[in-house]
Point group: C2
Chain length 192, copies 2
DNA sequence: GAAGTATTTCGATACTTATAGAAATAGTCT
DNA sequence: AGACTATTTCTATAAGTATCGAAATACTTC
């Protein structure tokens, strides 16, 4: 199993399957092996066209061929499909995927103590250092360069704790977010 | 969750992701929400191009937008990705997916009795009617219009039972396959 | 080796679409 | 209301590619 797939491989994979006849070929080969001639008849296209599609499918590692008498029999490389599906599932994980990985042991421990498994804040620590860990835990939910209404800020914060008003004030007090004087707009402060 | 996806939807899904910049957009949005402007800057393309891509991504149900002050914030619809991944995993099941569905209750019962969960034949039934169910169970592993060598026939049959010689003879005797006089080639007999 | 078969390669064409820029639109701020 | 901003729509262009038919290739059979 490959260590990590290059983006270009992924693009190729999708591009290959993003063509009606190729997808139909994959659907057919998922049931049994076919010869190129049979595929052409099933799809209503010429032999050279089928050949072209099979070449692209093979280049993406989706089909393999074996020779049998006059014919070549093509069959689906089911591993390629399921591998890709797993890659997709990994990508589609909940939220904050990248921050989670870069956390120090200390941060991870603090979060384990003060948040539930789904990321909500149970209680607020007394020590400032631990407190900042929680605020940085929240921060990725806000984008840089965007001005948020107070209503929207509360909406987002409510995912972490019901006391949105205090959370909101703390984010400003500790310098993670800024508040506009008049209009009541908030935005994330660019780090360094 | 949708009942069943149309093929055209699947094609659209893959086509949408089979474009480098769109895949990069999905990658970015998987981490946090972006504005269209930020995406354009990150990809190095114009605003109208980003708009075009976002439209296609939205049409495929992959991204959603919410308005925030001047900006529109786009975020990934993670459900769409994981749903699709599950569909893919379902497709990538072992072998014989379609025949399994069209089986009568009787056939299903016979197979449950005489085959293991992975499709191998445990023992051979005495009654001819049940015996034919097993042979038809094997048959999809052979393609129409292809002449197989005896060696290859045995290879395929060995997936079902070790006694490949008897299986092979039975397939011929019951009229499911034919054997060439001299050369020792076998082929599947067209039904009807 | 000669004849026969399936498949691939080549050349040409038609269709799709990614992209940029300009103009139009929709929404927000003062 | 008027100024301002981000986004979308429109138009045109360039690049990619699905498709076919013909010729070339590879392999099997006798």
């Amino acid at each position: 199993m490959e260590r990590d797939k290059k983006t270009s491989d992924l693009v190729e994979f999708f591009k290959v399957l993003g063509e009606p006849n190729r997808l139909r070929i994959v659907g057919l080969l998922a049931q049994r092996a076919y010869t190129a001639e049979q595929l052409g008849a099933a799809l209503g296209v010429g032999a050279s066209t089928v050949s072209h599609h099979l070449t692209r499918l093979a280049r993406a590692g989706l089909v393999s061929a074996r020779s049998e008498s006059y014919y070549n029999l093509y069959s689906l490389q089911t591993n390629a499909l399921s591998d890709m599906a797993k890659t997709l599932l990994a990508q589609a994980q909940p939220v904050r995927p990248e921050s989670e990985q870069e956390l120090s042991d200390y941060d991870r421990k603090v979060l384990a103590t003060f948040t539930t498994t789904d990321g909500r804040i149970k209680t607020f620590p007394m020590q400032e250092r631990k407190f900042r860990v929680l605020l940085r835990h929240i921060l990725p939910s806000f984008s840089h360069g965007v001005r948020y209404t107070e209503k929207r800020v509360n909406e987002i914060l409510s995912k972490y704790n019901d006391d949105t008003a205090r959370l909101r004030r703390w984010l400003v007090d500790f310098g993670y977010m800024a508040r506009e004087g008049g209009g009541g707009k908030y935005w994330r402060v660019d780090e360094k």
